[in-house]
Structures are given as structure tokens and as C-alpha cells.
């Protein structure tokens, strides 16, 4: 595989295209998950890191891994901005994943508020990765607001249902000039692989690992699947027959010039 194939986010380059979540499994497993996943970026909830404990999640993340603090708990742009600033104060760096939810049942992102928060935070020098519902207009607005990537959901958080929004994610991949990172709902390595084949720049997963019987092994499976999907995308897939057979004689063979 081409060694120059890097993921670039906010001017920083990464060779791994697997972004790891951290919120749903034991802190003691984080290091193994990172290693098996080959991950260079890990998300964490600022609200979880905001502890004087005992066990702070920040102490479990190796120094060479880039932190991607998220604003979970925010219900509007203003709250997200405040949480992002707190993340910076806590020493989490300049990356921020904007997550704004006004629904405690489905945890679907509010695109309008997300656009507002992205605009404010990117002006403050944050590298903003907004979690979004895959809507083309919103994605364009996020580009204009200064996002470093867009993170559309594949299906509802925690559902492990895979690429329910496939057609719409494909539109974002085709039309948006930023990395499209598929986030939320990816339940199996095969789904991650499929998203990468489609041209996604990276995959983010959490629940799929947390609910696996063997977390490090599943992290490794995702890592391999994401790499395979990326290579397939770069290799430019050939023709795939989806239905019936193709005519052996071309229909347009009668044309004469």
C-alpha cells in the first residue's frame, strides 16, 4: 500500500484511519484497544475527563495518541463551545468533536446548532470535527463554518446497525471536499470496510468494540477491515454485478460511423 496515503485533519497527518471511542469499556482496556486498533486518535467525553478521581481516563491514554475530546452533554451551540474551551483548559489539545444533542432517546445530532458551534470554535483555532446527520446542505455549511472534516452518522449511536444512511453518506463523499469520517452505528468490521470502499476517510467506532466478547481482537478486526476497505477504494473497484447477467454482445454494436 502507498505509504503516502495519509489522513490529514487540521494540518496534522495520520497513517491510521480508525478513530477509537473510549466511553463504554474499562479504562484498563484502553491501551490494548489502541494497540490492537492501530489507532492514533481516541475520543473522550470531556464530562468524563472532568473528574478529580481516582481513575482519570486521561491517565490511561498513551502520550503519542491524539485526543479528540467530544462535547457530549451539550444541548446547544453555546454549551458545546463552553465544553470545548474546558477541554482545552484540561490539556486535551486543539481537536474537538462537536456533538450536540437535544434528544436523550436517540442522541441524534442537531445540525443547526452544530454549524453554529463549528463556526465559533474554528475561529478560536480549534480543529473542529462535527458529528452530524448526513445532510448535504448542513455539510456544506459546516465546510463554510471552518470544519476540518465532517462526521456523518451511519445509524443511531449504539445501535450497531451499520450503514443505514449509506446513500446520503455517499453523496457527502462525492460532494464535500473535506474528509468524511463515518461515525456512530458501525457495528461490524464488514460495515466499516464497506464505508471505506465507498471513499470514507476514516471510521469511528466505540459500541461495536465495547459490546464485543473480546475487545482487543475486535479492535484488530476493525483495523484490518478499515485498511482493506481503504486499499479497495484506492484500487478503484471493478465492475460488480448486482443483478442478472450482462449481455455479452454490446447493445450499441450496430452503430456505424
Amino acid at each position: 500500500m502507498n505509504n503516502d496515503d495519509k489522513l490529514v485533519l487540521g494540518g496534522k497527518t495520520f497513517s491510521s484511519r480508525f478513530i477509537l471511542g473510549s466511553g463504554k469499556y474499562s479504562l484498563s482496556l484502553i491501551e490494548a484497544a489502541i494497540n490492537y486498533a492501530g489507532a492514533q486518535i481516541i475520543t473522550l467525553a470531556v464530562r468524563r475527563a472532568n473528574t478529580k478521581e481516582h481513575e482519570n481516563i486521561l491517565d490511561y491514554i498513551p502520550d503519542n495518541v491524539t485526543l479528540l475530546p467530544n462535547t457530549s452533554g451539550a444541548r446547544n451551540a453555546e454549551e458545546a463551545v463552553r465544553i470545548a474551551r474546558l477541554a482545552r483548559e484540561l490539556g486535551c489539545g486543539d481537536f474537538v468533536k462537536v456533538e450536540i444533542m437535544r434528544d436523550s432517546k436517540y442522541l441524534l445530532p442537531d445540525n443547526n446548532e452544530t454549524i453554529k458551534a463549528t463556526e465559533i470554535l474554528s475561529k478560536e483555532g480549534f480543529i473542529v470535527l462535527p458529528y452530524m446527520y448526513p445532510d448535504l446542505y448542513s455539510a456544506r455549511d459546516l465546510v463554510n463554518a471552518g470544519a476540518a472534516a465532517v462526521m456523518p452518522l451511519a445509524s443511531p449511536i449504539g445501535s450497531n446497525k451499520g450503514l443505514a444512511t449509506k446513500e446520503f453518506i455517499q453523496i457527502l463523499i462525492d460532494e464535500i471536499d473535506l474528509p468524511v469520517i463515518v461515525d456512530a452505528g458501525i457495528g461490524r468490521p464488514s460495515q466499516a470496510c464497506e464505508a471505506m470502499e465507498m471513499g470514507a476517510a476514516a471510521i469511528m467506532a466505540n459500541t461495536a468494540l465495547a459490546t464485543a466478547g473480546d475487545l482487543p481482537l475486535m479492535a484488530s478486526a476493525f483495523n484490518n477491515a478499515i485498511k482493506a476497505g481503504r486499499e479497495a477504494y484506492l484500487a478503484k473497484p471493478g465492475r460488480v454485478l448486482t443483478r442478472g447477467a450482462s449481455a455479452s454482445d454490446p447493445l450499441t454494436g450496430f452503430l456505424r460511423n
Binding site: 474499562s26 468524563r48 472532568n50 432517546k105 459500541t207
Partner: protein
């Protein structure tokens, strides 16, 4: 079998005893429990009607094994499915319910378990709720902590490592005023990352004031949603007013609180109907206030000082587990708290299935944390407990036990924004 709740203290005056007996024996001597008392805010809400119309018609005996199996196979659990899961027909399917509940819990919460502790700051009460240790006729040591004492208790708890606190009082506006509780919230914010309240129901503007003082979560137990039964258990005081209590969580959310907790006290009335009502109360309020964080708990009746015979009747651990699994399957996103009323073994088991939050280092008495946490003799007075707890594990031990069960204890998942 019914619980026998009525206990006479020898310290009561003849006049007080006479009034007590009259309240107990003569329903006409009691006030109308559906009528608001002066000063109680009436909000415009259709939630009660939505919940109670379903509860009224719920006939759990009509559900069959076929309904239960269908409910378990459906991808999303409808209200009808939930009713089947709460029915007696579901009892033989408890293991399957637990498996499904566990899968839902882990999708939404992973292996995390939240730890918190309650702090009772006063046990004065103006109500006569016949099953409660704090009731105004019960002969117990009464106490209200002053600011200095609250500060001291909080420091002891915070030093143990705890980051979330639930402040509780008995229900006495006269002894524990809104301002007094507000000051306690302000103190709590010094020591804790998250402050919840479990106090007497108040009006929207008072919830707003308490929110500004630092409380972000309000829990109110409805005790029972069966209004007729409620009337026979809550004989005196403002708590007698059932509808004002019902709308507490909505007033709290209107006052700006981020979250609300709900519960019936199982064992008081028909537990299946009460469980249905509690869950629908959450369900309909969540639809109206989708941003709010909701939680359910499932306490059972416990013995109290001067009446060690009180028990949860037909709600055994099996039934409690069934209710909790049904809650989880119906509402995968809600927090579920299991209190120290339950045993160590039950709590260790249920956190792996459905519960997401448990208390540790619990005392339901007043001003006794230092003596309980350090073994040091108390240098001051202490107030008696509300009920007997069943799981007295310290914070440190709970943390270790949860980790040993393969769970990740979380002390704080909260930001004031």
C-alpha cells in the same frame, strides 16, 4: 396479606393520639387528596391523563406467552410489548428478558456503572405517610444539620472519593425551607461535580432557584400511582396531594433542571400497574421534553424504626428483576438506579443486566457520616434513619467490587454548562 403500618408512640399526647387514630380509621376526617392546597402551582399538562388512562385499562392477566415472545422478538418495544413484559405471563421468560436487557444496557452504557451517595440533611417531616420512618407521628430522633455541619458531612463524603451527591430532606417546608436547601446546594457544588435533589415537591420558580443554587437533577417518588391506595397511606400533610406530586418532575424541567428521576415504591399497591405508570410517566415526559435526562428507580418497601415488620409483600427479587428488565427493554436510554434497600448480591447481579447507577457509603440517618465512615465516635447528635438499608458497602469497597464484576465505575459524567 397486608402490611400493618399503624404504630402508636407512647410519647404522643392523648390529643395527638386521638387525631392520629381518627386519620387512620375515619376517611372522612382526611382532606381531599386530589385537591391542591394553597400555594401549590397548577401547570397546564396532559401527561397525567396520558399515563393514567393507560394504567386504568391495563389488565395484565390478559397477556399470554405468545405476547411475551413477540415482545422479546420485536426490535423496538412498544407500549403494548412493555405491558406484556410486565405481566405474570413473562415470568417464565425472565432469563430471556435479562439477556435482552443486558444487550440494550451495554449498547447504551457499555460496561459503565455510576456511583453516588445520598446525604440526608434533615429528617423533620410534616406528613403522616404510614410506611415511612420519618412520618410525623413516629418517635425518632429528629435533626436538621446547620451549614457548618453540612459542610463537614460533605467534606467527609468527598474525601472518600465520591463526586456525585443526592441531597435529601424530610418533607417539612417549615424546618427545611427552600433557602436552607438552596444553601446546601451551594455548599455541595464546592465538593461535588453533580448535585441532585430529593426533597418535597415545590413550584417551578422554586425549582429554578434551586437550579441556580447548583442542583441539576430532581427525583420525586410518586410512591404509588393508585390514587385510592395513595389516599389510605398518606394521611396528613402536603404530600397527601397526589396530583401536585405527579407534576413535580415536569415543574422541575420547566424550572431548568437537566434531569428528573421517577419511581413508585413497590409493595404499596399493585406493583405491575405502578411499574407501568412509572415508566409511562417517563415515556410521555420524554416525548414532551426530549432533551431531558430521565432516570427510573425501583425501591421496595423496607422495615423502619419502630416497625420492623414492613416488607414488600409480593414483590420478591424475581418480580423486581422482571420490572427492571422490562424498564430497560422498553426504554434503553434511561438511567436505572438501584438503591441500598437491595442486598449486595442483588445489586451485583442487576448492574450486569439493567441498572446503571448504584449508591455506596449510604446512611439514611442525619449527621452520622463521620462516625460511619471513620468509626470515630460522633461528637454531636445524630438523627435517625428513614429506613433500614440492606447493602452497607463503603464507597471504596463498592468501587473494588464493581471493578471485580468487570464493570467500569464512573464517578462523574457530568458538566455544568
Amino acid at each position: 396479606m397486608e402490611n400493618s403500618f399503624f404504630i402508636d408512640s407512647q410519647k404522643l399526647s392523648p390529643a395527638a393520639l386521638e387525631k392520629k387514630h381518627r386519620l387512620e380509621n375515619d376517611p372522612s376526617s382526611r382532606t381531599d387528596h386530589m385537591k391542591y392546597m394553597e400555594g401549590m402551582e397548577i401547570i397546564n399538562s396532559d401527561i397525567c391523563e396520558k399515563v393514567m388512562s393507560q394504567v386504568k385499562e391495563y389488565d395484565y392477566s390478559k397477556y399470554t406467552a405468545r405476547d411475551v415472545i413477540a415482545a422479546l422478538e420485536h426490535e423496538t418495544c412498544s407500549i403494548e410489548d412493555f405491558k406484556a413484559l410486565l405481566s405474570p405471563a413473562a415470568e417464565p421468560y425472565l432469563e430471556r428478558m435479562a439477556q435482552k436487557a443486558k444487550a440494550e444496557t451495554s449498547k447504551h452504557f457499555g460496561n459503565t456503572v455510576y456511583l453516588f451517595t445520598p446525604l440526608y440533611i434533615a429528617n423533620y417531616c410534616e406528613n403522616y405517610c404510614v410506611y415511612c420512618g420519618f412520618n410525623c407521628y413516629n418517635d425518632i430522633r429528629r435533626m436538621k444539620l446547620n451549614a457548618e455541619q453540612i459542610d463537614k458531612e460533605m467534606k467527609v463524603i468527598a474525601d472518600s472519593g465520591m463526586e456525585e451527591i443526592l441531597l435529601l430532606t424530610g418533607e417539612s417546608r417549615a424546618k427545611s425551607s427552600i433557602e436552607y436547601i438552596g444553601e446546601a446546594c451551594k455548599l455541595a457544588r464546592k465538593y461535588f461535580r453533580m448535585v441532585g435533589l430529593e426533597i418535597y415537591p415545590v413550584n417551578t420558580d422554586e425549582y429554578r432557584y434551586l437550579h441556580e443554587c447548583g442542583a441539576d437533577y430532581v427525583t420525586v417518588f410518586q410512591e404509588t400511582y393508585d390514587t385510592d391506595k395513595y389516599e389510605t397511606l398518606h394521611l396528613l400533610g402536603h404530600k397527601r396531594v397526589w396530583p401536585y406530586r405527579f407534576d413535580s418532575q415536569e415543574r422541575a424541567l420547566m424550572g431548568g433542571m437537566r434531569g428528573a428521576g421517577f419511581s413508585a415504591l413497590l409493595g404499596l399497591s399493585d406493583f405491575r400497574k405502578d411499574a407501568l405508570a412509572s415508566a409511562l410517566h417517563v415515556y410521555y415526559l420524554q416525548r414532551k421534553y426530549p432533551h431531558a435526562e430521565m432516570s427510573l428507580s425501583c425501591p421496595r418497601l423496607r422495615p423502619i424504626i419502630n416497625n420492623d415488620k414492613i416488607n414488600p409483600l409480593d414483590v420478591h427479587e424475581t418480580q423486581l428483576c422482571q420490572v427492571l428488565c422490562a424498564y430497560r427493554i422498553f426504554m434503553p436510554f434511561v438511567g436505572i438506579t438501584v438503591s441500598s434497600r437491595e442486598s449486595e448480591s442483588f445489586r451485583n447481579g442487576i448492574v450486569k443486566i439493567a441498572a446503571t447507577k448504584i449508591s455506596a457509603g449510604v446512611s439514611t440517618g442525619i449527621g452520622d457520616h463521620e462516625s460511619k465512615y471513620s468509626g470515630k465516635e460522633s461528637d454531636g447528635a445524630e438523627g435517625d434513619e428513614q429506613f433500614e438499608i440492606a447493602d452497607d458497602r463503603s464507597f471504596e469497597r463498592m468501587y473494588k467490587d464493581m471493578s471485580a464484576e468487570g464493570l467500569q465505575p464512573v464517578l462523574n459524567d457530568y458538566l455544568y454548562v
